[in-house]
């Protein structure tokens, strides 16, 4: 069973229409395997992406492109208890979180 998500790249287009990622410090909550993260992270100064699923985070870390190793970090964290100091980020993405 192979599923393809957003072949039309509508999500990426809208994400960039709604936010300027250039040199921003970005927090993504609910990153899963990093599908969305790879659509913007190259433009950021730094990206911290969190999820509750350790298996998904493992995949995201393995898939992380070499040129993003010093710019994109993944961590296991609850959105209600974020392990960051106040006023750390310029921009946050609440991704597919119900």
């Amino acid at each position: 069973m192979t599923v393809q998500k957003d072949r039309e790249r509508n999500e990426t287009k809208h994400l960039h229409k709604f936010a300027d990622f250039t040199e921003k410090r970005v927090l993504e909550i609910g990153c899963g395997e990093g599908r969305l993260t790879w659509q913007y992270a190259k433009e950021t100064r730094v990206t911290f992406a969190t999820d509750l699923d350790p298996d998904a985070l493992r995949v995201a870390t393995i898939d992380r492109p070499a040129d993003l190793e010093s710019r994109v970090y993944f961590s296991l964290a609850k959105s209600e208890q974020l392990p960051f100091s106040k006023e750390t980020f310029d921009l946050a993405i609440l991704a597919w979180s119900f």
């Binding site: 999500e11 809208h14 974020l82 106040k86 609440l94 991704a95 597919w96 979180s97």
Partner: protein
């Protein structure tokens, strides 16, 4: 989710931006799409648990706005397509991944299989998910309260 929004507000700088990106149930259309044509074969069923999740998310956002934590700046719906090579793959995905909040009735399954079988060789089956994207800005009136906490 209200607690999550409070946490997000805490870690964002003054005038920081929150992008909320999520699917919303709305009897998502099923389509058979090829390079030549797109045909709708039916609609997904919205289950109570999925609708309750949507309502809870909407309520949390409304609460955060009411508390003055965030200011809504921009909002839009857009389609997000999940695509499969065949109707059986679509049905398997729904049964394993989406069964708690959405489903397909037999009539739509049959219509999808029938239309796909007679479609062009490049035809795929897809679900048109309704996505909501909203840009929020941390409200200035709360910055003082946050800095004192």
């Amino acid at each position: 989710m209200v607690h999550a929004l409070d946490e997000i507000r805490r870690v964002l700088v003054p005038n920081g931006i929150l992008i909320d990106l999520r699917p919303t149930l709305d009897h998502w259309p099923i389509e058979v799409a090829s390079a030549r044509e797109i045909r709708e074969t039916g609609r997904m069923l919205d289950f109570p648990l999925g609708l309750a999740d949507d309502e809870a998310a909407n309520q949390s956002i409304a609460d955060a706005e009411h508390k003055g934590w965030f200011i809504r700046e921009q909002e839009e719906f857009f389609p997000f397509f999940y695509s499969w090579d065949s109707p059986s793959e679509l049905e398997e995905w729904i049964a394993t991944e989406w069964h708690e909040f959405t489903g397909l009735d037999d009539r739509t399954k049959q219509a999808t299989r029938s239309i796909w079988a007679s479609a062009d060789a490049d035809a795929r089956v897809r679900v048109k998910v309704k996505m909501l994207i909203t840009r929020w800005r941390v409200a200035a009136q709360n910055l003082k309260a946050v800095s004192q906490s």
